[in-house]
């Protein structure tokens, strides 16, 4: 059976800087896959290339065996994506946005309407019926983006920082939804900075540092009997014992 998402030697260079250096990952179907790494390590760039938002310089990405760059239409139909800093038609309400996107995804009017309503209700965005997306808070934007990613019922979700700026209650809801999705046979790839969250949710994890995969595999294998945080710090080679605040700040 083909991997839900496969990154095969993806590379990207921005001018003199190598952002992603031959990243290869394989996300098994039905897994909850966490992607962690320091700021600027290349997580977002890798995910963008994997879902067809940024053309890679080298390598391939496949969604259930479908090459993202050779058959973009086929690949995009199989994946739901929450990109980082996403562009949205700002002057629509959440319901309008979801309905239109559903129709564009090929759902009929009734289905699009029902699904939009259901998602809005679950994500507690139905209170903001009269608010335009441009006036949404950061957390609300995340939630509407998440709803847009799930709308067409994909078997794979690729989520860039889905919990960033989301309130605790909504975060619990989203976690519940994602757990249910994986239990039903779906696959989730998410990037996050919160180690505890990745440890709780994910069964697989990859650590990316300086554009490369530092470690990848089942969670227990990667953490090797310690906490993910300790292992992460060791892998990215940070020296945390000696960290001091600025001398003038404490005194």
């Amino acid at each position: 059976m083909a991997a839900a998402l496969e990154l095969d030697g993806l590379g990207k260079r921005f001018g003199p800087k190598i952002a992603v250096d031959h990243v290869s990952l394989s996300v098994p179907p039905g897994s909850f896959y966490g992607l962690v790494g320091p700021n600027g390590a290349g997580k977002t760039t890798s995910l963008s290339m994997a879902v067809g938002l940024l053309r890679p310089d080298t390598g391939h990405a496949r969604v259930f065996g479908v090459d993202v760059w050779a058959d973009p239409v086929g690949a995009r139909a199989r994946v739901g994506v929450l990109p980082d800093g996403l562009a949205l038609p700002e002057r629509l309400t959440g319901r309008e946005l979801l309905t239109f996107l559903g129709r564009l995804r090929g759902l009929d009017r009734a289905t699009a309407g029902t699904r939009a309503g259901e998602l809005l209700e679950i994500l507690e965005l139905d209170q903001a019926e009269r608010t335009l997306v441009i006036d949404y808070s950061t957390g609300m934007r995340k939630k509407i983006g998440l709803a847009a990613a799930m709308l067409h019922g994909p078997r794979l979700l690729v989520l860039d920082e889905p919990f960033e700026a989301v309130d605790p209650v909504s975060a619990l809801t989203i976690r519940g939804m994602l757990r249910g999705f994986v239990a039903g046979g779906g696959s989730v790839v998410l990037s996050s900075h919160v180690m505890a969250l990745v440890e709780q949710l994910c069964d697989h994890v990859a650590v990316i540092d300086k554009g490369r995969v530092a470690a990848a595999g089942p969670l227990d294998e990667v953490r090797a009997g310690r906490s993910l945080e300790d292992r992460f710090v060791e892998l990215v080679g940070a020296d945390v014992d000696d960290v001091k605040g600025p001398s003038w700040l404490a005194s």
């Binding site: 938002l53 053309r55 562009a87 996107l101 009269r130």
Partner: protein
């Protein structure tokens, strides 16, 4: 697909139309309709002229988006980058949305002039015209989209931004000169004596003239020619669509690269807060693609505008290249704070830095613009001026440099136009916001700051006293320094007192909440009733016709003793009336500006009083 996208766009439009936008839409639609009716009238006169007018429509469609700041981006390709849709199909769908709105309707009316023209070519010509009209509308719309697409991808690099500025400036200059050309054509009786054959051939060879050619060929029974013209239009539409869909993919799957060029003004940063802001601004001017584009646009505009008359052997405009660059650069820089988006919060959390912020920005603008303008003025005056031109150009250059530096600061904090956040811009400098009104206003105001210096220079010429002429330079430097200082002070005081309001205006972008007539928080002004708003919009759109082309320009021509009359009404009159009529036009223009400003102000104050009382 197309249906859903169109429904989406209509919904977006409904949410973004507030009172002023609706009024602007109606005004724009009426003005366009008048032009369209004019086109139909032309169709009854002459085929050559009709083909030429169609060419102007085509140019207008390609240039329009540049003028209005990136064209209509209410439904953007980025919104659909995740959908499993073939790019060609998406391009077709987005093209469908481009037909929704007032301009395509107006164009349909304009191009139906072809049907009127076909009246004299029998049933065959009439039938061909009926088929051609929708094709022509489709052609102009798709070429307009393509133009935006090309610019949006091209301007993602520094070189691209400069090239896009060159293209924009050339098209602007061509359009500006075409006004003169059309009126010159009427003046020289081309209508009755007919155009030269080469002109007829050229306007029919442009894609905009293929429809006219097809109708005429049908009248002659030359069906091969008809087929060639119609298939040519179709082929061009398909080709443009294919290229555009390629560009859409390019736009959604690559990222603009922000190179860090050599830092400018490094040692300035060491010289206190003003120096630090100046250094920051100089770097922004050389790194922000939108600013690079705006600055080079001004440079190319001034240069080309004065170079074009060389075609007819007139070098008299060359000395003014530098002044034009300064005036245009001030006009395009007047949204100085808006261009940086919500970065204004940095000043809000650092109270007391407003003065440095404003002064630094003024200084950086001067450092960017002044050297180019001075070089162009000196070179231009050497090449195209005479002895008496020196005091004129130097004094006016000094006056507009200072006046411009003052006005950009003042206007940018009083008339801020919300723009897409720099971080979310995607590298397209055409997303400069709805700045058209601001640009027109700035062109006027900066020109006014040159009046004292120009007046003294005129006095010197009239009295034939070189001392007086040269003292104009002192006056120019004086008013320049005074205005830069005074307006700058007003600007940083306003920035200090109204900072939070400006920030919230930038954040909200002036949206309208669905279902309510209220504008969301952050609008510093109360909204005018629709009728008053329409009046104010009318005043602002049309005030510059009496003021500039019918007022100041004829006055200038009378002073310099120019011969050409063109479409300047005052110049067609006999002597006791020439100057009074031109002055009257200036007064009319000034009164229109006065009321355009005063009506909203009065309404605002009245509304506040009511609020306070209630």
């Amino acid at each position: 697909m197309v249906g859903v996208l169109i429904a989406m766009k209509i919904r977006v439009l409904r949410h973004s139309i507030g009172g002023s936008r609706a009024a602007g839409m109606v005004m724009g639609g009426l003005a366009g309709l008048a032009l369209a009716v004019g086109t139909i009238v032309v169709a009854g006169i002459d085929g050559d002229l009709l083909a030429a007018v169609f060419a102007v429509w085509l140019f207008g469609w390609m240039l329009g988006p540049v003028y209005t700041g990136g064209g209509d981006e209410s439904v953007r390709p980025e919104h659909f980058s995740l959908l499993p849709v073939d790019p060609r199909k998406l391009a077709l769908g987005l093209l469908g949305t481009a037909f929704v709105g007032v301009p395509p309707l107006v164009s349909l009316v304009a191009f139906s002039a072809l049907v009127v023209y076909a009246g004299s070519f029998g049933l065959a010509g009439f039938t061909v015209a009926l088929v051609t009209v929708p094709l022509m509308v489709a052609l102009v719309v798709v070429l307009s989209r393509l133009m935006i697409g090309v610019l949006a991808v091209a301007v993602r690099s520094r070189t691209g931004a400069v090239l896009a500025a060159l293209v924009n400036a050339s098209m602007n200059v061509v359009l500006n000169q075409s006004w003169v050309l059309i009126w010159a054509a009427i003046q020289f009786d081309l209508l009755s004596s007919g155009f030269p054959p080469s002109f007829s051939a050229v306007v029919r060879r442009l894609p905009s003239g293929w429809g006219v050619a097809a109708v005429e060929a049908a009248g002659r029974g030359d069906w091969l020619m008809v087929a060639a013209a119609l298939l040519g239009i179709c082929a061009l539409i398909v080709l443009a669509l294919l290229v555009w869909s390629r560009l859409l993919v390019e736009r959604t799957t690559t990222r603009p690269l922000h190179r860090v060029p050599q830092g400018a003004g490094g040692d300035l940063a060491a010289r206190g807060p003003v120096g630090a802001v100046t250094a920051k601004e100089l770097r922004t001017w050389s790194r922000d693609l939108m600013r690079i584009h705006l600055l080079w646009f001004a440079v190319f505009f001034g240069l080309l505008y004065t170079l074009v008359p060389l075609i007819i052997g007139w070098s008299g405009m060359l000395p003014w290249a530098g002044v034009l660059v300064v005036v245009m650069a001030a006009a395009t820089s007047a949204n100085l704070f808006g261009l940086d988006g919500t970065a204004l919060w940095l000043n809000l959390v650092n109270p007391g830095t407003e003065r440095a912020e404003v002064r630094g920005r003024q200084l950086a603008w001067l450092l960017r613009v002044a050297p180019i303008a001075i070089v162009l003025t000196v070179a231009g005056t050497l090449a195209g001026g005479e002895g008496w031109t020196w005091p004129w150009t130097l004094s006016i250059l000094a006056a507009v440099l200072g006046g411009g530096a003052g006005l950009i600061a003042l206007v940018s904090v009083t008339m801020l136009v919300p723009v897409t956040e720099p971080g979310r811009r995607g590298g397209n400098p055409l997303e400069a916001g709805a700045v058209f009104g601001q640009v027109v206003l700035m062109l006027l105001l900066v020109t006014l700051t040159a009046l004292p210096a120009g007046g003294v220079a005129y006095l010197g010429d009239a009295l034939d006293l070189p001392v007086v002429s040269w003292s104009a330079v002192v006056v120019g430097v004086g008013t320049g320094a005074l205005l830069a200082g005074w307006f700058g002070r007003l600007a940083h005081r306003r920035l200090a007192s109204k900072g939070p309001e400006l920030l919230s205006l930038m954040r909200s972008g002036g949206t309208v909440s669905p279902g309510s007539r209220d504008v969301t928080a952050g609008r510093p002004r109360t909204r005018l009733p629709a009728r008053k708003q329409a009046l104010v919009t009318f005043l602002w759109i049309f005030c510059w016709i009496p003021l500039f082309p019918q007022g100041l320009v004829p006055l200038w021509t009378i002073w310099t003793g120019g011969e050409s009359r063109l479409w300047f009404l005052a110049l067609h009159l006999d002597d006791p009336w020439r100057i009074p009529v031109a002055v009257a036009f200036v007064v009319v223009g000034a009164v229109m500006i006065y009321y355009g400003t005063v009506i909203p102000n009065r309404h605002d104050r009245a509304a506040r009083r009511l609020e306070n009382a209630g």
